[in-house]
């Protein structure tokens, strides 16, 4: 599943249920056919993995309750109001009645905090990042999102944006770990400073719209440039390694 497809699932999902093993079930209702498609969000390293070896993630992630319930990972169609029995030896049912999902596992709290949601999103992809990177991201999320009582509320954080950041860091795993911030619209931004008065910032916007801004106040004349991530010049990309 490409990062964009994963975002599409998140954005298209009418309902989203989180289970206590940090996995998520997205229910996308199709009013035209009266059926719902339950999409199981899992972590393939590429779309080819799922096609060639649909059970691969079981080995990667261990025994999964939702996997037992839903069967093969992507795109199974379940008629609304009917009961579908999972394939395999597990005798478990998933029922979708009037768009309400129920299963043997109960959804977690329906309105978790931004911190809770983001930490869960991070833990959904444990094998994509090094343990050092995960620990750093957890520390950063805690500081950014763990608001104290009475504190002015910051922006809610966008999970698709966090997925974009995680995917970017996992695809470029030799980069220095960035500083993190959250824009006023809730999108994650990663920054690298090669020296004191220079900084590259990548903003993980909606729909895979990622942009960079580079500033170097000590250049003559000062540098202040920006553009889409796909067009990031090498001279600025190198700042991410320092």
């Amino acid at each position: 599943m490409s990062p964009l497809a994963r975002d599409d699932v998140l954005l298209a999902a009418k309902r989203q249920f989180s289970y206590d093993d940090c996995e998520q079930l997205f229910v996308i209702e199709d009013t035209g056919t009266g059926s719902s498609r339950a999409t199981y969000l899992i972590d393939f390293s590429s779309s080819a993995d799922s096609a060639s070896d649909p059970s691969r993630y079981i080995r990667a992630f261990g025994h999964s309750l939702i996997q037992d319930l839903i069967g093969s990972p992507i795109g199974r169609t379940i008629p609304v109001g009917q009961t579908w029995t999972a394939l395999g030896a597990i005798n478990a049912n998933v029922a979708l009645a009037s768009g309400t999902g129920s299963a043997n596992a109960q959804p977690l709290d329906s309105d978790p905090s931004s911190l809770h949601r983001c930490l869960r999103a991070l833990r959904m992809r444990p094998n994509r990042l090094t343990s050092t990177r995960i620990a750093a991201l957890e520390r950063q999320l805690e500081t950014l999102l763990n608001e104290e009582e009475g504190e002015v509320e910051g922006p809610g954080a966008s999970e698709p944006s966090l997925y974009g950041l995680i995917d970017f860091l996992s695809e470029h795993n030799t980069l220095a770990h960035p500083s993190l911030s959250i824009t006023r619209n809730g999108y994650f931004a990663a920054s690298w400073s090669p020296r004191k008065r220079a900084k590259l910032t990548i903003m993980f916007g909606p729909g895979g719209n990622y942009e960079w801004i580079a500033i170097d106040l000590d250049a003559t004349p000062p540098v202040h440039d920006k553009g889409p991530l796909a067009n990031l010049p090498d001279k600025f990309a190198n700042w991410m390694h320092t």
Partner: protein
């Protein structure tokens, strides 16, 4: 004196809240983002660090305590310091003319160090550059206690 331009060798301070900060890999603030600069109709509010003369560290502590007496200051917040001359130069490099002027406030609560960076507009391109001029300092325990006490008194008054 109200309207007095602050010397380029002096500094101004910003109260940076959690949502204004970038966080480093150790979980501590490592920089600020553009939102730290709130542009009002009269300018960007800052406090003049050297409005009472003294060694830098003493001035920093006074301004931190002043922030704490006026606002909700928390351990995760930071006091961001910028040199006035660097603000002027950076704005000039962007083709902007800014003025950093003393603007003491009497009401509702006196803030004798209050000052303004005048000449910027919201989302101004030079605000992005200003983020690189900020040096972050944690608030001292004494400053945090002042803020806590202030909150307690406020709650008492509300009751």
């Amino acid at each position: 004196m109200k309207g007095e331009e602050i010397p380029p060798t002096d500094h101004v301070a910003l109260h940076c809240q959690r949502s204004d900060l970038e966080i480093g890999e150790d979980g501590n603030p490592s920089g600020v983002k553009i939102d730290a600069f709130r542009v009002d109709s009269d300018g960007i509010s800052v406090n003049w660090l050297e409005f009472e003369r003294g060694p830098f560290d003493d001035c920093l502590e006074s301004v931190c305590r002043l922030f704490a007496s006026l606002r909700d200051v928390r351990p995760a917040h930071r006091c961001g310091i910028m040199k006035v001359g660097e603000i002027n130069q950076t704005a000039a490099d962007c083709g902007r003319e800014v003025q950093v002027v003393h603007d003491p406030v009497e009401e509702p609560q006196p803030n004798p160090a209050h000052s303004l960076i005048k000449g910027c507009v919201p989302d101004d391109v030079c605000l992005q550059r200003f983020t690189l001029l900020v040096e972050l300092h944690p608030f001292s325990e004494a400053a945090l206690s002042i803020s806590k006490e202030r909150k307690k008194q406020k709650r008492g008054t509300a009751r």
